[in-house]
């Protein structure tokens, strides 16, 4: 591992390209995300946002370019290896364990980070894991529901649980894929507060369609269109950018 | 050498009958994702009905038609009562349902016709001479009939008005409904067609080995193997696979007893699952 200074970006992509047959879903995308930043990724339908995320988290193999995370080249690595490198992701379709309790869902994620394959110890003896899980639940606002079955939670609570599961793996980079999709206005506000709370020690990439959410949360926004970067900058600059307006309004 | 020619003929003939059975099964699976464990028993029931009609009227052809129609209607009724209420539920429930139907049909046949073997006499007598070998005509006629029926099915699916409905529903049930196609009715119709074909196969096969309550089992087993090997839901594949597997079994029975030759089918099944799970005769999906 190379020696890193705090000023080096946590995540850097250089010329990242993902082709499906003849179509470049992600085309020559180079971004640089400094440690501690909340980066918003927006763009019209089909702009390549999900594909970009998928290539960061190892679900899809990029066809070209580099992804450098924490000084390490991670392009093309399988998802479980990338997870160990402290990148966590929440999904558009909720991926919780419905038959387990809220605490168990988070505990399992935390355990996977902290302990290996010992089959003999009783699960209750993992004090540190349980404590960590409880702390995460407090962060995502589900502390009072720890013994509730995950399937009994409301949709908004389930999506927040999903963020909690991702958090429990103690990531350095958290990738959120449309975290407020399908939420009411109230639930959305709660989630935005949640993300602000957890952002202190994290670097966050967030793909969203809800402009209020993204404009309110992100430090920097990258706009994708047809797989390429159309614009990048602070929320106010992006809002004022006529080309971005054009793309969204298709004028 | 004679054995090889004879077994080739056996393989082709058996393959055609099996193809009829497998077609119905794969059609049913392809459109409504139902694994019909009662398929072989409907075949058996058809054979018994055929034998009874033959006994009363003396006409093989009448027996064939009546059996197919009666069992088709029975199939439709079965689907409406036992399977339609289960649409959308866990696939395990439909498997259990068809398995239950299978048991009921078997016991019914036992009760209705008793344990003795029935006969369906051949529709045509005499042997066909190939070089210096004799081969019974009726077997060839059976194969041709099976081929005709399968061809009729294929033409119906390809060009018939309702054939298009069936194919559309198989590809996209939701869009078919949006086009006004009455999907529940299509399901019932397909189940009826499959049942009718199974029954006809039973009558066709009757002269080969007699009609017993357990004749369905062998067919069910082989039909499932063939449906998987040919690609589930793939009509052409199951026909090719039927002939392929039957030929292999026939050749194998030169070396071992026919009862043991069925092992060949299982070997083919396992190899298919290992290397080409979508089906041997299906182009590899990209």
């Amino acid at each position: 591992m190379s020696a890193l200074t705090e000023s080096a970006p946590l995540l850097k992509t250089e010329g990242l390209t993902v082709r499906f047959g003849g179509l470049a879903a992600v085309n020559n995308v180079s971004i640089s995300v400094p440690r501690g930043e909340i980066r918003g990724i927006i763009g019209p339908n089909g702009a390549g946002k999900s594909t970009f995320f998928n290539s960061l988290t190892g679900v899809i193999r990029p066809t070209g370019g580099r992804i450098v995370f924490n000084g390490e080249d991670i392009a093309g690595l399988p998802p479980h290896v990338i997870s160990r490198k402290a990148i966590a992701r929440s999904y558009q379709i909720t991926n919780i364990l419905p038959g387990a309790t809220v605490l168990e869902n988070v505990r399992i994620a935390s355990q996977s980070r902290r302990h290996n394959w010992s089959m003999l110890r009783h699960y209750r003896s993992y004090e540190d894991v349980i404590a960590r899980a409880r702390a995460v639940l407090a962060d995502v606002g589900l502390a009072d529901k720890e013994n509730e079955l995950a399937s009994n939670l409301s949709h908004g609570e389930q999506r927040n649980l999903e963020i909690g599961i991702a958090l429990a793996t103690e990531p350095k980079l958290l990738c959120l894929d449309e975290p407020t999709a399908g939420m009411s206005v109230t639930e959305t506000h709660a989630t935005v507060d949640l993300i602000r709370r957890i952002a202190r020690d994290l670097t966050i990439l967030i793909v969203e369609h809800d402009m209020e959410v993204v404009m309110g949360l992100a430090h920097t926004i990258t706009v994708l269109n047809y797989g390429e970067i159309l614009a990048e900058g602070r929320p106010a600059d992006i809002q004022a950018n006529p080309r971005v307006q054009e793309v969204y309004l298709k004028t | 050498m004679d054995q090889i020619i004879i077994q080739t003929l056996h393989g082709l003939v058996n393959g055609m009958v099996l193809a009829m059975v497998a077609s119905g099964l794969t059609l049913i699976f392809g459109i409504m994702d139902i694994v019909n464990f009662a398929h072989g028993d409907l075949l058996m029931l058809g054979a018994f009905v055929g034998a009874s009609v033959l006994g009363v009227t003396g006409s093989y052809w009448l027996a064939l038609i009546v059996a197919a129609v009666v069992i088709a209607i029975l199939g439709a009724l079965l689907q409406i009562t036992t399977l339609r209420p289960l649409i959308g539920r866990d696939p395990l429930t439909t498997i259990l349902a068809t398995f239950g139907v299978s048991l009921v049909v078997q016991k019914y046949a036992l009760w209705q016709w008793g344990p003795s073997v029935r006969q369906i006499s051949e529709p045509v007598r005499g042997d066909f001479t190939l070089f210096y070998l004799q081969y019974p005509w009726y077997r060839i006629v059976t194969a041709l009939l099976a081929g005709l029926i399968i061809a009729a099915l294929w033409l119906f699916l390809k060009y018939g008005k309702y054939g298009i409905w069936i194919r559309a529903t198989t590809q996209d049930r939701v869009m078919a409904q949006a086009m006004g196609i009455p999907v529940p009715l299509v399901y019932t119709a397909v189940f009826a067609i499959g049942s009718g074909m199974a029954a006809a196969s039973g009558v066709l096969f009757g002269p080969f080995a007699g009609v017993t309550q357990t004749m369905g089992f062998d067919f069910t087993l082989r039909a499932f193997i063939v449906v998987v090997v040919g690609g589930m839901g793939n009509l052409g594949g199951s026909i090719l696979a039927s002939i392929f597997v039957s030929l292999l079994e026939s050749y194998a029975s030169i070396l071992v007893s026919p009862a043991q030759a069925v092992i060949v089918s299982f070997v083919v099944l396992v190899l298919t699952m290992l290397f080409r799970p979508t089906g041997l005769f299906v182009p590899t999906p990209k």
Binding site: T188 | A178, V183
Partner: protein, 235 residues
């Protein structure tokens, strides 16, 4: 003709539509605008009985659609052109059309006439009538999807993002087609993200956000003052 009153819908636990109220009168082209994920497609799916309606009413020509089986909607006069087009890929162009042409009460003469009419709108479909649906280009598939709806001789067509993913030239063609259908007296509920096309084609527009209708105005008003559009659809 088509009225949604206070409709709520759920996908499993997800409460995706909150009190949506929309009205489409006979002969109108009504636009439904909104960014991705706001519930436009879900609104159409609720009409088609595909999303679980948990509140409110949907009536068509006065008749409550609750309890109408999914395959009964075409017979009532409601045609659907879904977002993904959903062409029957293994059926030829002609066979795709036949799924709608072969309805009850259709004489061969009427079928022929309808087919000719559809071919007149879309000559390329006539050319490719024996080609499998899956081999058509995106634009051609969109045309086939619209043609397939047309052969149902519907009273209303639910058009879901017909221009998505199409080249600008094709977008213009789709715009032409919507105009032509309107001139022919077909009622259309047009769901879109393309603002100029919608403002041009529609008479009235509803704007949705986060599962509910936020604004409702005539296209003329919205063309004159685009601020509302910018607020809900822009950045």
């Amino acid at each position: 003709m088509l009225v949604l009153e206070n409709v709520d819908a759920h996908y499993g636990k997800s409460h995706v539509l909150h009190g949506v109220s929309i009205e489409v009168r006979a002969g109108e082209v009504v636009g439904l605008l909104g960014r991705n994920g706001v519930g436009k497609t879900t609104t159409l799916k609720a009409i088609m009985g595909m999303a679980r309606r948990t509140g409110g009413r949907i009536t068509f020509e006065g008749r409550d659609l609750q309890g109408v089986p999914p395959h009964g909607l075409a017979g009532l006069g409601i045609a659907w052109v879904p977002e993904e087009r959903r062409i029957f890929r293994l059926l030829t162009v002609l066979e795709n059309l036949r799924t709608g042409l072969d309805r009850r009460g259709m004489t061969p003469a009427r079928r022929e006439a309808l087919l000719e009419k559809v071919y007149a709108y879309f000559p390329i479909l006539k050319e490719r009538r024996n080609q499998a649906g899956g081999t058509l280009s995106g634009g051609e598939q969109q045309m086939l999807a619209i043609a397939r709806a047309m052969v149902l001789e519907p009273k209303i067509i639910l058009l879901d993002e017909p221009t998505e993913g199409l080249m600008p030239r094709m977008v213009a063609q789709i715009q032409e087609i919507v105009h032509a259908l309107h001139r022919d007296g077909v009622t259309i509920l047009l769901v879109e993200q393309n603002v100029p096309l919608t403002l041009d084609a529609a008479g009235r527009v509803y704007i949705m956000e986060k599962g509910t209708v936020r604004h409702h105005a005539s296209a003329a008003e919205l063309r004159a003052d685009q601020r509302v559009i910018h607020e809900y659809l822009g950045i």
